[in-house]
Structure formats: C-alpha cells, structure tokens
C-alpha cells in the first residue's frame, strides 16, 4: 500500500482507539446528566485520580485484576463525594452553582495528586505483552486495543444494569420525572448520588485504560475533560451508541490534524466542532428545547 496512505491510516486508527476513551468519559456525563441535570466539570480529574490510585494499588503489590476494580471503587467514592460537596446544594437551590463548584473540586484534586504522587508523569504497568500487533500494515499496541474493548465493555455493562436491574430502572424513573418517582417511593437524592458514583467509577476505569498509553500525570486531566465534552455535545447526550461514533471520529480527527498540520493543532478540530455544535444545536447536550411556560 502507498506509504503516505498507510501513515494516514495509522494515525486515524490510533486516534480512533483513543477516542473510545473519550466516549467512555462522555458516557459518564450522560449518566449524571440524565439523573440530575448536572455534569462534572472536573471529570478529567476523576480520570486522573483513578489512574493514580490504580497505579498505587499495583505499587503495593496488588495484581492488575485487583487494582483496576480497586480504582473503580475509589472512583465511585470520589464521584459520590463530588455530588455531595459540589452539586447537591446547587440542585436544591435550583441554580447552576455546580459548574463553578465542580471546577473547584477538580482543582483541589489536581493539587492533591501533585502532592501525593508528584508532578511527574509515571508509566502504568500492565499485564499485556509489550510490542505491537500488525493489521494490514498498521501497528496497534495491546493497551490501545484494551482501551477500545474496555470502553465498549464498560458502557455495555452499565447499560445492561440500567435496563435489567431494579436499581437501574429506579434511576431511569428519577431521570424521567423526579417528583413522580418520589411519589412511588424512590428517593431521587439517592438515585442521583448513585448515578454520580457510577459515573465516577467509569471515569476511574477510563483512567486505568488510558494511562498505559499516555502515562499518568496530574496534567492529563485538563485536556481530557474538554475532549469528553466535545464528544458529548456533538453526539447528544441521549445518543448511547452515538457517543462511541463521535468519540472515534474525534480521536481520529485529532490525530490526523496533528499529523497534517503539526502537533500543536491537534486539539483544534475538536474545539471548533464543540463551539459550532453549541452554536447550532445547543440542546444536543443539555436538554431538549424547553417550552417556556409563563
């Protein structure tokens, strides 16, 4: 095959695989938004902390298969904490103070990470073999494949739980109409907390699958949040599988623009797309067009 085409294909595939991680983060947004009409502007920090905690767990001797669920448990706890500290008050007051508050909590998370684990980027050990696999001239490493498989698997798992477990159905009821759900005996506050906890666990899991490719460091958080938002806005929050497609598209676009325009321009297409999507179809992420009742 033509070397240039192969190069482009390599970049697109690598980006697409990474993009599934963005889709997983966007999925976390979907969970909290449908339940409580709020998202974590510090989601990237949860991803970073999940990765760090997973790293520490492997560091104290736990095998990978225990460290990742351990990180997810920590992520769930952190997600619950963010909801309790930063979101609940704003929801009660029916204002949007949670935007600033989740940003603040995320900031504290970065600072804590810098001091607990240091400011350097660290490699994340994985049980997969080193080296790359080749498919039609395109090299793919094991960690990259795990990102794709893990993201899809996690999203599928949560969707199944939402549809086939009592808890999941209860959360769906609260998303649809919190007042009616309360009348049926479902505590909407608990449902919202649960969705934030699951979102936190998903974020932590995303951290453990991204870290082997990018290394773990306090700076990984910031860029990721914005990418996840791009995916969520462009796909629309009730799009389910659409998130995956948008994630793959964004990841590929990033890599390709970095390749063709220079590494500094990588983020540009995602950001421009985000602004356009917000300008042309803002309800994509944050609600259907509301009919004002006066």
């Amino acid at each position: 095959m033509n070397a240039d085409f192969l190069a482009l294909a390599q970049m697109a595939v690598g980006g697409g695989l990474m993009g599934m991680a963005y889709a997983l983060m966007a999925y976390g947004f979907q969970l909290t938004y449908t339940a409580g009409k709020s998202v974590n502007f510090g989601q990237g920090e949860l991803v970073m902390l999940g990765a760090f905690i997973g790293l520490s767990l492997t560091g104290i001797g736990l095998p990978y298969w225990a460290a990742v669920p351990g990180a997810m448990v920590a992520g769930a706890a952190l997600g619950w904490f963010v909801e309790r500290a930063a979101v609940r008050l704003a929801l009660q007051q029916r204002n949007e103070g949670w935007i600033l508050l989740t940003i603040i909590v995320g900031l504290f998370g970065v600072s804590a990470a810098e001091n607990i684990w240091g400011r350097d980027d660290k490699p994340f050990p994985v049980p997969w073999p080193e080296g790359a696999l080749e498919f039609f001239g395109i090299s793919v490493t094991w960690p990259e494949l795990v990102i794709a498989a893990g993201a899809l698997g996690m999203m599928a798992l949560v969707e199944l739980a939402k549809r086939y477990t009592m808890l999941g159905i209860a959360v769906q009821a609260v998303s649809a109409d919190p007042d009616s759900a309360e009348l049926c005996g479902i505590r909407s506050k608990s449902a919202i907390s649960l969705s934030w906890a699951v979102s936190g666990a998903a974020a932590a899991f995303a951290g453990t699958i991204i870290a082997p490719v990018t290394t773990v460091g306090p700076t990984m958080a910031a860029a990721l949040t914005l990418k996840a938002f791009s995916v969520a806005v462009v796909a629309g929050l009730d799009s389910g599988f659409g998130l995956v497609l948008a994630g793959i598209a964004l990841g590929s676009a990033e890599n390709l623009s970095g390749f063709l325009l220079g590494s500094g321009w990588r983020e540009a297409p995602g950001l421009i797309l985000l602004i356009l999507a917000l300008a042309l179809r803002p309800q994509g992420i944050f609600g259907k067009k509301i009919i004002r009742k006066v």
């Binding site: 609940r88 600033l100 600072s111 791009s230 950001l271 602004i275 917000l278 803002p282 992420i285």
Partner: protein
C-alpha cells in the same frame, strides 16, 4: 450591633471618599517605601484589578461562568506587544490591545450569548483553549512557545520607569473603576440584573436581553484587552502558556472571593490574588490568616447550633474547607506546592459560604456599624394621565393556530379589539387563554395566522418585536426582577423620565412607600401591582393583563379594579384574562370566551354570562348528567 456611628454622609458619597483615599495612598506608596519587588507587585495588582473588573461584568453581573477572560487577556497582551514592536506609539498600542481582545470576544459572543449555564461555560472554555493554541502555533508572528520579548516604550517621550509606569496603571485603574461604576450601576446595570432574574420579562418589556448581554460581554473583553496591554508593557515578555486554564482559575478566585457585582470586590480580589503566592511562602502569616478565616467560618454554624437547629450545608461546608486549609498551612511540608489546592479551598468556602465575597461581608458589617444619611426620594410626577383614544383596530389576531405535539392549544382563533376598548378573555383552565396572549406578545410563534398591533405586524415569536409594536403585558406566574428594588424595576423599563417619573408610576399603583424595597421581599399582592406598573411605565398601546387578580385579597381586588379603570381612562387598550367574573363584569366592554383552544362566544359580559355554550364549558352540560343518572338506574342490582 454593639454600637453605631451616625454619619451625615450619604452612602454613595462615603464610598467615593474611600475610593479617593485609597488611590491617594496607593499613589503615594512608592515615595514612602523603596522596593522594586513590592512596586512590581503593586503594578501587577493594578493590572489584575482592571482585568477582574472586566471579568465581573460576566461572572458577577451576568452571572455566567466566563472561562475566556484569561485568553482575552493574553490576546490583548500580544496585540499590544506586536504593536509596540511595530513602533506604534504607546496610547495607540493600548487601543490595539483593547481591539485585539474585543474583536475575538465579539466573535465568541455571537454563538455564546444565546447559551446559558454549562453551555456558555463550555463555549468560553473551548475558545480559551483555541486561543492559546493559536498563539502557540502562529510562530512567525508570536514566536510561539519561545515567547515574545518587547522593550518598554516611552510615553510622549517620558521614560516609564517602574514608579511612573505604576502611576500610569493606577490612572488607568482609576478611570476604569469610575467607568465601570458608571456603566454597571446605571440603568444598564439594572437591565443586566433584570435579565438574570427574568429574561422573559426583560424581553417582553423591551429591554433586550441579547443586546445587554452582548454589551456586558464586550465591556468585559475590552477591559481584558486593556489589562493585557498594560501587562505586556509591564512584564516585557509573553508566553502563550501563561494565559491558560491555571490563570483563569486564579481570576475566578479573585472575583468570587473579592466579591461579585462590585468594583471594590474586583480590587480586593486582585489584591488577594497578587499577594497570595507571597503569603503562602510566609507560613506564620498564612497560618494566622487561615485561622482567622476558620473562626469567621465557624461563627454562623455555632450560632445556628445555639438556637437548637442543625446547621445547613452552606454553613458547615465552608468550615470544612477552611479547616482543611488550616491543616495544610500547619502540617504540609511545602505550603507552596499546595497552592492550587489552597486556592480551591478558599474559593469553595467563598462560593458556598460567602457568596458576596469579602467585600460583601465587609459592607454588611459596615452598614450595621455606620448609619449613613438617607438617600432622599424625589416627589412623584407623572403617572396615569387621562387621555382620549383614537378610533380603529388596536389588536387584530387572525386565524391563529398553535399546537404543542398533538395538543391544539389555540385552534383557529380570531380576535379583534378596538382602540380604547377593555376586552375580557375568559374560559376554563387549559382553554388556551394564556397561550393566546403568549402568541400575541411574541413569546411563541404561531403555526399559522397573523397578529397585528396598531396596524403593525411584528415578527412572529419575537418578544422585542411585539413590544416595539406597542404591546406590554403582565404574567400569570409572576416574573419579578427579584434582585432589584421596586423603584429599580420601574426605572429599568420606563420609556422616558427619571426617578420622579418612576415614583409617579409607583404612586399610580399605590406602591410609592415601598420604592426602596427589594422585590424579593415584597408581598405577593404588591408584586402583582408592580408588574402592572412596569408594563404601564413602557407607555404601551395595548396592555395585556394575565390573571392580575389571581390570589389577591378582597381589598386588593378593589384597588385593582380602580387601577384598571384609571388605565381605561388613559385611553389604553386592555386585554384582560381573568377568572374573577365580577371583575370582568365591571371592567370589560366586551368578552371573548375560549374553550379547548377555540373561541366559543363573544359579546358583552351580560350576554356571555347567559350564553348556554359558555355555561356548558364551565359547568358541563345537563344532558351528560341525566345520561349518567339513567345509566346508573339501569344496572341490575
């Protein structure tokens, strides 16, 4: 409070004196204390104060999280730096800096200002990130990541050493402060407050949400550019990465912690932000300040506990945050390393526990300690003048249809109201009365049909357009400007006149005693009257009142009837939706009746009351009742 001081000054004058004193002290500092480093910090503080005043326009006054300010600051800085490299004289270079921020800011405003809340925050964040990328990658122009160096130019052949440049910055700050105060405490400021509380009412009363949001955002961007220009000259070296998210968070900290919607707050925030890194390196000082903060934070929950109640989250959370900050101050091996975390804790405590920032708290305490001379209100003038109306059609709604999903809310309704007429609109709940008014006033766009007000066809679905054609309205669910006073609510929307005329409108509805009362503290009945006064102040041709008597007490209803009668005498056309049939009977010339989205009757109040279709709509028909009875009898036992 423990004691009072009575001042013969008005609060406004006292504030001006304090401001003047502050600037005199700041200007005198370099002569009293020689220290390059401190002078550098003070200059930085002045620059940040300008920047924060700009940020306050969106974060404080508009109430939106603007994450683009740091990037606009950077764009202004680079603009000025490049202008200086091109040997443009200093004053012009400052203007270039302002433009370098204002133009991209305007471009951002176009999509962003239609958005609210998280969408707005996201669009500004994307813009900020894109700006930094752009600055980094445009290496041929900006020298990219390596940074841009400039030599400090002179101003009109005067060399700007540190002290002189500091005075220049102080002058700019003084002018900016004065201008911000003028802009944001004027009617413009009232409008911005109003659009936060009720964008719908703001548009319906012709104030124009988009216009004001755009101006406020433009003001904020211009100040960011100006601050950037000063920063470029001050520092002499610019790097794109310095204008990223880290700086933006620090700016938010400054504005929120200092105090929103307040120029003093922006100044205090700038001081905190500039001094904080130095404060952090002096551990004893820092620990003492944090301890002070803890004590201040713990006072409200203790007071609540003492009155045997459980403290709320807004009271306990700041204590937790300040306690964490104290723990860090005392036990962390390197407090500097926790800089971001400490900012976060302070910011959290401020957002949750001290929403008005330290200046807000200080102002509250000062107001309790000092009794200022009252601000006198002028005598009321104007009000409702008797006038004669001309002849002809005031309002012509023709074959209006509107469906929501499958529900036909308004089904082929035609309504004609003559000039000077008071026309009632009645019908059972859900018959589409309010929807019809919403369609006429421009809140909704009709699916088909047209609306003509005094011969003009406003743009469908546009509140502002309907307003320009001459309509004004009140709302079934109150839409007060909760943050404004009654007087402010009138002043923000009145078509002409000043305070006396505004007092006149309040007098007309009987609210002149409550002119200085905040809407959030007014009673329900008063707010209903205030809505009418608001609408009147815009001098409408057609006034639409949507259930003005709802929930009113009997004496208030009598007042209402008198009020509407005097509005009638002023020749204003009125469309009145009401459930109180006695009010309708007294006030209305003709009445239209709606049921299930359709117009079922039209006539005088008397005619309509006797119309069998109307009775059936309200009470149900005899036939169905008889049928039910016979069905019951037919059942075998």
């Amino acid at each position: 409070m423990l004691f009072h001081v009575n001042l013969a000054l008005r609060e406004k004058t006292a504030e001006r004196i304090m401001r003047l004193t502050l600037f005199c002290c700041l200007a005198a500092l370099p002569m009293l204390w020689h220290g390059e480093y401190a002078l550098g910090l003070l200059t930085l503080m002045a620059v940040y104060a300008v920047l924060l005043m700009g940020l306050d326009a969106t974060v404080g006054y508009l109430g939106q999280i603007n994450l683009a300010q740091a990037a606009l600051f950077g764009l202004g800085a680079y603009g000025t730096a490049l202008a200086i490299q091109a040997e443009v004289p200093l004053p012009l270079a400052l203007l270039v800096g302002i433009a370098a921020a204002l133009i991209p800011g305007a471009a951002l405003a176009l999509p962003a200002l239609r958005l609210e809340g998280p969408q707005f925050a996201l669009s500004t964040l994307s813009f900020a990130t894109l700006s930094v990328i752009f600055l980094n990658e445009s290496e041929s122009v900006t020298n990219g990541a390596l940074g841009l160096s400039i030599v400090r130019p002179s101003l009109f052949n005067i060399v700007l050493d540190s002290t002189r440049f500091y005075w220049l910055c102080l002058t700019v700050l003084f002018v900016t402060w004065w201008a911000s105060q003028l802009l944001l405490r004027s009617r413009f400021g009232l409008a911005i407050e109003a659009l936060r509380d009720s964008p719908t009412a703001t548009d319906a009363l012709g104030i124009g949400t988009l216009r004001h949001k755009a101006l406020a955002f433009a003001w904020g961007s211009a100040l960011a550019g100006l601050a950037g220009a000063l920063h470029a000259i001050n520092f002499g070296y610019l790097q794109p990465a310095a204008f990223g998210y880290d700086l933006m968070v620090i700016l938010l900290l400054g504005v929120v912690f200092g105090g929103r919607r307040n120029q003093w707050g922006a100044f205090a925030g700038a001081a905190v932000v500039t001094m904080l890194p130095n404060l952090l390196s002096n551990r004893t000082l820092f620990s003492s300040l944090v301890t002070l903060g803890c004590l201040l934070a713990i006072a409200p929950p203790i007071r609540t506990l003492l009155s045997r109640k459980i403290p709320s989250f807004s009271q306990t959370a700041p204590v937790a945050a300040m306690a964490a900050a104290l723990a860090l101050a005392l036990f962390a091996s390197n407090v500097e390393e926790w800089r971001k975390g400490i900012f976060a804790l302070f910011l959290f405590a401020a957002v949750v526990g001290l929403p008005d920032g330290i200046t807000g708290a200080a102002t509250t305490i000062l107001r309790k300690l000092i009794r200022f001379a009252p601000d006198p209100l002028p005598v009321a003038t104007g009000g409702i003048q008797t006038a004669k109306s001309s002849a002809g059609l005031a309002l012509h709604a023709s074959k209006i249809r509107k469906s929501f999903g499958g529900v036909k809310a308004v089904d082929n309704v035609t309504l004609e109201i003559m000039k000077g007429e008071t026309h009632g609109l009645i019908g059972p709940n859900g018959s589409g009365k309010t929807t019809l008014v919403n369609l006429i006033s421009g809140l909704y766009k009709p699916d088909s049909g047209s609306v003509e007000i005094f011969g003009v066809r406003p743009k469908p679905g546009s509140l502002m357009s309907a307003f320009s054609a001459g309509s004004a309205r009140t709302f079934q669910n109150l839409q007060p400007f909760s943050g404004l006073t009654a007087l402010g609510s009138i002043m923000v929307c009145q078509r002409d006149g000043g305070i006396s005329e505004a007092m006149g409108w309040l007098h007309a509805v009987g609210l002149q005693e409550k002119a200085r009362l905040r809407c959030s503290e007014m009673s329900y009945g008063d707010l209903r009257f205030l809505e009418i006064a608001r609408a009147l102040a815009t001098r409408p041709y057609v006034l639409m009142l949507d259930e003005p008597a709802a929930g009113m007490s009997k004496p208030d209803i009598i007042r209402l009837v008198d009020l509407v009668t005097s509005i009638k005498r002023a020749g204003i056309t009125i469309l009145l939706i009401e459930h109180h049939q006695d009010v309708i009977a007294v006030l209305c010339d003709r009445v239209s009746v709606m049921d299930g989205g359709q117009l079922i009757a039209l006539g005088t109040p008397d005619q309509v009351r006797r119309n069998p279709k109307v009775i059936e709509a309200y009470l149900g028909s005899d036939e169905t009742a008889t049928q039910a009875k016979s069905e019951m009898r037919a059942q075998p036992c």
